[in-house]
Amino acid sequence: MTLPVVPSDRPPDQPARLVDDFTPPLILPGEHHMCPGCGEPAAMRSTVEIIDELGLTSRAIGVFGIGCYTGFSGALDVEVLQALHGRAPSLATGVKRARPDTVVFTVQGDGDMVNEGLQEVIHAAARAENITCLLLNNGVFGETGGHMTATTVLGQRTKNTLEGRDASRHGYPILIADLLAGIEGSAYVARGATNSAGNVARTRRMLKAAFAAQAAGLGFTFVEVLTMCPTGWFIDTAEAPGYLAEHLAPVHAIGVLKDVADDG
């Protein structure tokens, strides 16, 4: 039997063209520049889809920190105020206090939020600041190429913990969501992940609850999303979701830590 052969001896009849645009709402057409296997795009897409679903789009303002995800500040069809590394919660506070009718969210990584600007998010929670802070937590400084952050789990190999994070030399990871859940001013605190379809669906429910709580004026809301960083973890792309489940999730436990709307 002779198998058919795709003809390649002549150019195509017409250039390749996009026949339809499946870009989700609130994401501008174009490419993101994250590495293959990165967990951040799914978190960003989920965030803007929830804003759209809740009908909050025309009041939405995002405040971005500095990390790989900063590229999304120009990629979303959402108003964005670009902050310095570590400083998004104070800028978001100024926006929200000056325009209380807006829906304000911050996007920070673990280096940005838990290292550089830790006091910002803690004070925002304590003030019951009516904003939603998002943490994309992959346990490394992804943009600089995989260095230890304050959330790096014990034993994790990074560029400055080559033999793995050792508590006696590098201290212990900060479990930021757990810390914020213990503060009186926080209304909703949850930790999700983007390493599986099930966890993305769960994270979307968390985002929905957080933004709904902000819209209802309940106070400070926080969603941490564990994201894959195969580049910064120095592992194969396909291994990253499993690595997250095996090493990050046992320390930074996935689940809803606090929901005042659900209490009684």
Partner: protein
């Protein structure tokens, strides 16, 4: 009325509706008065956790088009420098108060301690009436140029009492703030972006890269330098053999001493820069041209003297007659800020320049 209260009242009269700060003397009283005056007019005053958050909050409020201000003393402003450069790159209007201790912050105010190529306009009043006018001008210039304006006060300005009436001043029309964020452009396909890095979204008809953006900021700094009118007060320059340059409260002392010496027939004059950036170089150069020499009185180890030397460009000798002067409080209440001390320094410098070959 005390200077701090007059400044806060003038901010409210100028339409300031957001203020954030962290207590530090002698800035504290401005924060107290803003905290009292803003809520009744629908404004917001935030007790920030640190100077870093104070400037961050003001940055966020400014991005909504709200007239906003923050401040501290020089030490607190050191903490804010990273944000102040970025706010210049993000092209946002903001008024920043430095109720300084002494005059050691001239370089910080006029050069900045932040990164990159940026400048802010700097105004330095010598008394409360001028402070009330200049703080309102600061809001106007900040909006006009979409750039931070620094108001450089001091302990005396904050705490001296003067009879003063505060009314709103009109500096002319401004363009509408069509760049301000309120969420309404989200989902429109043309959502706004305010960023110090790349100022347009990725679907912009004309993409902008980081280098192009920074170069455009450089062009804007040059435009400010050329077009913001340098403000200056001069006196006694006709037939003056020695011209004394001083700013702020020490400028007020120098003005008084020069007047008193001229009454005694001593040929001295003064130049008091009111804007420190842009520096009134032309006025300083013109005054120097008619005199034998220039003296600079400032309460630091010699900072503004650099700008005076740049203005004079070697055509006349420039003498530094100031110095660091603090009492034990550390607030810049200066023993050398004394009519007799200033008078003696001017007279001995005049003697010295008369001995120099012309």
């Amino acid at each position: 009325m005390e200077g701090s209260e007059a400044i806060a009242e003038a901010m409210v009269a100028a339409g300031c509706r957001f203020f954030s700060g962290y207590p530090m003397t002698p800035f504290t009283e401005v924060l107290e008065h803003a905290n009292r005056l803003l809520p009744p007019v629908g404004g917001v005053c935030m007790n920030a956790e640190s100077e870093l958050e104070a400037v961050g909050m003001a940055w966020g409020a400014a991005a909504t088009g709200t007239r906003s201000a923050t401040g501290s003393v020089g030490q607190g402003l050191s903490l804010m420098q990273e944000s102040l450069s970025e706010i210049c790159f993000a092209q946002l209007p903001l008024v920043v108060l430095n109720m300084a201790r002494g005059q050691g912050d001239y370089f910080q105010a006029t050069r900045g301690g932040g990164h990159g190529d940026y400048r802010h306009i700097v105004v330095a009043p010598a008394d409360i009436a001028e402070a009330v006018r200049l703080i309102q001008l600061a809001f106007h210039l900040a909006d006009r140029w979409r750039n931070p304006v620094l108001f450089l006060g001091d302990y005396y300005l904050a705490h001296v009492q003067e009879a003063i009436e505060v009314g709103a001043l009109d500096f002319g029309p401004l363009e509408a703030k069509d760049w301000a964020l309120d969420g309404s452009s989200s989902g429109s396909g043309r959502a706004k972006l305010i960023s110090p890095i790349i100022p347009v979204k990725r679907n912009a008809p004309e993409p902008v890269d980081y280098g192009t953006h920074l170069a455009s900021i450089g062009t804007r700094v040059a435009a400010m330098a050329a077009q913001v009118e340098p403000l200056v007060e001069t006196g006694g320059l006709e037939d003056a053999e020695l011209v004394v340059v001083a700013y702020g409260t020490p400028g007020r002392y120098v003005r008084y001493v020069v007047g008193r010496l001229r009454d005694q027939g001593v040929p001295v004059g003064f130049v008091r820069p009111v804007t420190l950036w842009p520096f009134p170089s032309a006025a300083v150069a013109a005054a120097a041209e008619e005199a034998r020499a220039v003296a600079v009185f400032e309460l630091n180890s010699g900072q503004m003297v650099d700008d005076v030397r740049l203005a004079v460009l070697g055509r006349r000798p420039v003498h530094f007659i100031g110095g660091i002067s603090f009492d034990s409080s550390g607030f810049g209440i200066a023993p050398d800020l004394d009519v007799d001390v200033v008078s003696a320094r001017i007279l001995s410098t005049l003697d010295q320049v008369r001995k120099e070959p012309a």
